[in-house]
């Protein structure tokens, strides 16, 4: 950490707490009644498709938007109405927002200039910060003369020189090519470990969130669907939306058809039946219920005869495509209109390969089933259509 204690941010915690935050643009709600606590020192990813409100949340924390209602606390201070600079946050913009008329050094020194730090001193400090991101050799260049990755480091240096307790990153990796993205991803993670401050990172790509975050917040049209560790989000998604958005999951919906041996029996389409572990609540018969099964827990076997009555936890279908992914093969199976995906280990797959058009039966262990808190309405994106009235 830097030695200046003058910044109000230095001593306080970087815990962020949003209480009943709603933001309305015109007549539509960008975010609705958000409650969220991001612990100090965590790497939090706000994940969701474009337009879900994740950037709005970030900008409200930064102070570039004012919530229509609700409160935002940073380190215990209510910050709504405070100017950005008094919040102890620093924002890294999606386009980096480097000042095109200032050199790299002056960009980094801008914060100090605003605080009337003498020229020599602020240049020295900015150079120190540039050394940390290994860009001091390019300090006299203009932003337009830098590559995307270099621009991003300058933006990072410019944010860090404010000595923030919270760093807000708006899609920081989206403008980079695949190779740089992976490298910068690692560097961001290391930086967060080293600084120990709170990072809030907005992204729409789930591998990025899973790789970086110790807290993932999955958002859907203005609401938080699930906020938990990456591991839980990925393995135990709460809603069909999260399961689908995180990928790697098959969502199945059936009607409850009795209970046996601590398991709930579900009847799906086409006469298929599944078991689900009993949950706290006891659903009534006939109620719809959704379960999720990880793609890599699915087994496939050929069913040469075509339509075969299947046992529990099985579903028949026809292979529509196979995609080789290196360490595994992604097999998509059409199960009566829905697509069911099995990720088979390459060794398993090549031992008994299936091909497009093959009739197969997909099966899984009852133990791998994860019950979703909400039944699937059948639509992949618009899960809560009609819910918010």
């Amino acid at each position: 950490m830097s030695t200046t204690d003058a910044t109000p941010a230095a001593q306080t915690s970087g815990e962020i707490r949003l209480v009943n935050v709603t933001k309305t643009f015109g007549s539509s709600n960008a975010v609705e009644n958000i409650n969220l606590t991001i612990p100090h020192g965590s790497y939090c990813c706000l994940l969701g498709p474009s337009g879900c409100g994740k950037t709005t949340i970030l900008r409200m924390i930064a102070g570039h938007e004012t919530p229509t209602s609700g409160e935002i606390y940073i380190g215990g201070d209510m910050v709504v109405g405070k100017p950005p600079v008094e919040r102890g946050t620093a924002m890294m913009f999606q386009s980096y927002a480097l000042f095109p008329h200032l050199s790299v050094l002056d960009n980094v020194a801008f914060y100090l200039k605003m605080r009337d730090v003498p020229k020599e001193e602020r240049r020295a400090k900015a150079e120190e910060m540039l050394k940390r991101v290994q860009l001091h050799t390019l300090k006299d260049r203009m932003p337009a003369q830098l590559s995307g990755g270099q621009q991003q480091r300058v933006a990072l240096a410019r944010s860090l020189i404010t000595n923030p307790r919270v760093l807000l990153l708006d899609e920081p990796l989206s403008a980079l090519d695949e190779f740089l993205r992976l490298r910068m991803r690692g560097e961001l993670k290391n930086l967060q470990n080293e600084l120990g401050i709170t990072f809030v990172h907005v992204t729409h790509t789930q591998p990025e969130a899973i790789a970086l975050a110790n807290m993932v917040v999955v958002m859907d049209t203005g609401r938080i669907d699930q906020a938990d560790t990456a591991n839980v989000i990925f393995n135990k998604p709460k809603t069909p939306y999260v399961a689908r958005f995180m990928g790697g999951q098959n969502v199945l919906t059936g009607a409850v058809a009795g209970k046996a041996d601590g398991r709930i029996k579900l009847k799906g389409a086409n006469g298929a039946s599944f078991d689900a572990p009993a949950t706290g609540s006891s659903p009534k018969d006939g109620e719809p219920m959704s379960i999720a099964v990880r793609r890599d827990r699915i087994k496939l076997r050929k069913s040469p005869g075509g339509k075969v009555a299947t046992a529990a936890n099985e579903i028949p279908g026809v292979v529509v495509s196979t995609e080789y992914q290196g360490s595994y093969v992604k097999v998509s199976v059409d199960v009566g209109g829905d697509t069911f995906v099995a990720n088979l280990g390459d060794a398993d797959y090549f031992a008994d390969p299936v091909d497009k058009g093959d009739a197969v039966i997909a099966s899984w262990n009852a133990a791998d089933v994860n019950v979703l808190a909400k039944a699937d309405s059948g639509k992949a994106v618009d899960v809560y259509a009609g819910h918010g009235n």
């Binding site: 643009f25 960008a30 337009g51 994740k54 709005t56 900008r59 570039h64 938007e65 004012t66």
Partner: protein, 277 residues
């Protein structure tokens, strides 16, 4: 989402600048409205407020003048001149705009010549054109020397507008057209021209109005017959009746119609495009 503006309370600077803006608009339009109102002055022939016995007599006076002068004749020259300048400005600046999309020897020289033509004082050019015509043994006329002088002023504007428009036109549209088997001319006709059409209307608007209102460049170049701005200029020095205001109201009305046609057609095209995509 990122581009959404902040909807917090408006800062005080908003109100200060909104006041400044309103005052500026009043400053801009107020006098013109005063002239418009006073052009309906009654037979008292007073050049100032209040308006007494409103009438249209000063408009009649323009059409059936009791004094020497040729307002209608001047209008009959200004209108075709403006239309010719408009057409030529569109044709020449559009083609030149395309040329400037490529680097060619002399492009910088031609560019700076156009800029110089834009900023050279009109009177200087007026003298020069007159002397040139004398030297060539030609008689100055509105359809000759004045037309050229107007073009030297309207073309740089047209060229700058084309730069702005073509700068935003991605070459991939044409490339896509070529990929789909279009010839060079077909690509221009059915892809490029429709895309830049609103810009061409803007160029036409500039061409027409710059010529229609031009005074210094016309002064020595129109020859023996006046164009409308010159007629107005003569009136400012020897007419002390609201007929002058009536003429002002009338020419402004003509300009207003031209502006309205141009702007509504641009808005119409943009709307239709927005509706389609």
């Amino acid at each position: 989402m990122a581009s959404q503006p902040a909807y917090g309370p408006r800062p005080w600077t908003f109100y200060a600048l909104a006041t400044l803006f309103t005052l500026f608009v009043i400053f801009l339009y107020g006098p013109m409205i005063a002239v418009l109102v006073l052009s309906f002055q009654g037979p008292s022939a007073s050049l100032v407020f209040p308006l007494r016995e409103p009438s249209t007599m000063w408009f009649d006076e323009l059409i059936n003048p009791r004094r020497p002068g040729d307002v209608m004749g001047a209008f009959g020259r200004s209108m075709p001149l403006a239309l010719i300048v408009m057409v030529l400005t569109v044709l020449i600046s559009v083609t030149a705009g395309f040329a400037f999309r490529r680097r060619f020897w002399g492009s910088t020289a031609i560019f700076y010549m156009a800029i110089a033509s834009l900023i050279v004082p009109g009177l200087v050019l007026s003298i020069g054109t007159l002397v040139t015509f004398r030297y060539l043994g030609l008689t100055a006329s509105w359809y000759g020397s004045a037309l050229g002088a107007h073009l030297s002023w309207a073309l740089p504007f047209g060229l700058l507008i084309m730069f702005a428009i073509l700068g935003r036109l991605s070459p991939s549209y044409e490339e896509a057209a070529y990929d789909l088997g279009a010839s060079k001319w077909q690509a221009v006709k059915s892809v490029v021209i429709p895309i830049v059409f609103p810009g061409m209307i803007a160029v036409a608007l500039f061409g027409f109005t710059l010529s229609y209102d031009e005074f210094p460049r016309s002064w020595l170049t129109v020859g023996s017959k006046n164009t409308l701005p010159l007629e107005i200029w003569t009136m400012t020095t020897n007419v002390t009746s609201p007929a002058l205001y009536a003429l002002g109201a009338l020419t402004t009305f003509v300009s207003a119609i031209v502006i309205a046609i141009a702007l509504t057609s641009i808005i119409f095209i943009q709307r239709r495009r927005a509706g389609r995509t």
